[in-house]
Amino acid sequence: MKKKTLFAAIILSIYSFGALAQGASEILKKTDDVMYAPKDQKASVKIILKDKKGNMQEREASYIQIGSEMRLFKFTAPASQAGIAFLSLPGDVMYLYLPAYEKERRIASHVKNQTFAGTDFSYDDMESKPLGDEYNPELISQDAETWKLKLIPKDPAGSDYGRIEITVGKDNNYLRSADYFDRGGQKIKQMVNTTIEKVDGYWTATEIEMTDLAKGHSTVFKTLGLSFDNNLTAEDFTVREMKK
């Protein structure tokens, strides 16, 4: 009898684990679907860097993006950054354009774990690939308003993070926050989508704050003039366009 009970408990727990895992995958898929619903997007951003003493620096940029793999990011201010452009294409093809050198420079994926232009985002964070492509999810907990998922990298060696814990809103399936942990399990970064609103019928974060907990340094991305479905094509994501 005891054996039967134990067997039933194991079966039940396996079933429950499976159900949770499936639930987590569905939640993550819906989150990715919501976040990558627009065909393309175009925006200008104000980037505010804050150090632990409260000193602030501002940068301005504009970007265009199709899906998750084509993005052209151009700095417009301050003077030291203006004109610097970063083009990301499928297959890890990335270019950096520095106006002082008057030519593009191909950059390899070793930069991915580096900070992007002095911000607290890494190049990898900036790539904004669907989370489901890179992580296996587990549902940790939930309350009336949110789900909390643990994301484990599918390719641990290729990721800077040991895991990410994300919070997703039940009302709109949009990512509310993410905590990044290193391979030793220490929380190293925290990202909060501080303003989430509907623009052109799509849920989107118009203000994001990323904090590097070790440095006590944070970066706020404020999106201005955001528009979706602009009929951008692959021709807008070329070295030619990057240098214009």
Binding site: D92, R106, A108, S109, T115, H217, T238, R240, K244
Partner: protein
Amino acid sequence: MKTFVKPFILLILIGGFFRAYAQETPFRLYGELYFDNRVRLENGQWSWNENRLDLQLDKKFADKAKFHSQVWLRSFGYPFLYSAEQLFDKDETSPYNLDIREAYVELYGVFTKNLDMKIGRQRIAWGTGDKLNPTDNVNSYDLEDIWDFGRHLGSDAIRLKYYYKDFFLEADYILYFRPASLPRGDWAAGLFNPMELPPPLYIVSMEDSLAMPALNLKENSSYALKAGGLAGGFNFSLSYLYGRDGLPVNYFNRIMPVDTNGGVYLESKLFFPRQQVIGADLAGAVGSVGVWAEASLFVPEDEIILTNDLTGIGMPVVDSVILENKPWFKYLAGFDYTFRGGHYVNFQYLHGFVHERGQENLNDYFVINYEKYLFNDKLKVRPLTAAFVVSDWKELTENYALVYMPFLTFIPNDNTEISIGVRLIAGEGDDVFAQYKDKDEFVFSLKYRF
């Protein structure tokens, strides 16, 4: 009348073009202030004083055209004053210089949406290497500051570039030849081998003359073609240039005695030989390591013979071949990688520096750079920036140069960079850097961008 009408019509056409694209953005004026001062460690003498105002002006006309100009206004060097009379002349007491680096108009989508045209003084930057580019030969070198690798002069040119998907075809026509600028001060000596005279002869005075190419299309102009694209994850290109070597070649010397102690007067003649350059480059990644390579085959138009007229000192005229009519091959390969924690390493191997000609005269250069940003990117340290040069592998200890250039850069705000560093040079032999071995220096520079 005709000479008046032509420019007038041209002005109307240009004005009409810009009015047609009246969705213009405002002029954007930007640039930087740059102060660069260097002092020799051996004797404490100032060796460099550059105060540069770099002004750049951009104006975009919708997505159809762009105007760009870059001008350097500089107070350079030290006044050479030897007479009180010079104190009345501000050009003498405050030497300055104006340099139009670029001034061009770029038109996008000319005739067809895939064709861009760029007209005016421009930098045509080729190559995938990091500041060392054997394929970058359309513009002549600007070697004024020998340590500013990769700096070139702008050329007055017309460039057409046609894009198709991931590929491009470029054609450049360089209207006028501009010789390279040579290093200032005593840095120039490293680029040219001194003339050796048998004792007791020594040079008391010298004069040289440059044979500039005739001011016509055939002699003064150059053209270049380049095609490339992205295939298999690698960017690649093939190029061809029919141009001139921007560094002059000595083809005639005449020696005349001026005293009875062996003192002589040297008269030299130099010219800029025609050459063809066939090049190829690529850039991409192997795993997550960035890799790049370049190669250029330099094909001289003729053999170059140096005539030494020694009849003035009772010796015959001696002709010697200083450059055979044989191609030579310069190449470069490099990689870079960023380790966890932001430790960036860049390594390059170069065969053949900018001034070297002839296959047997090409030296090997190994260049490494390690850098790391600290304190929220406020400090950039470059403790290991170095170059090792070998001019003869068989007698390495007599033919090498080692240049060590550690630098610290403080970045107090986004627009300001203050750098200090040293250049320590050791070497033997006739390589350009080995000849700088007594020129160790301390460097202080400030850059403010606006």
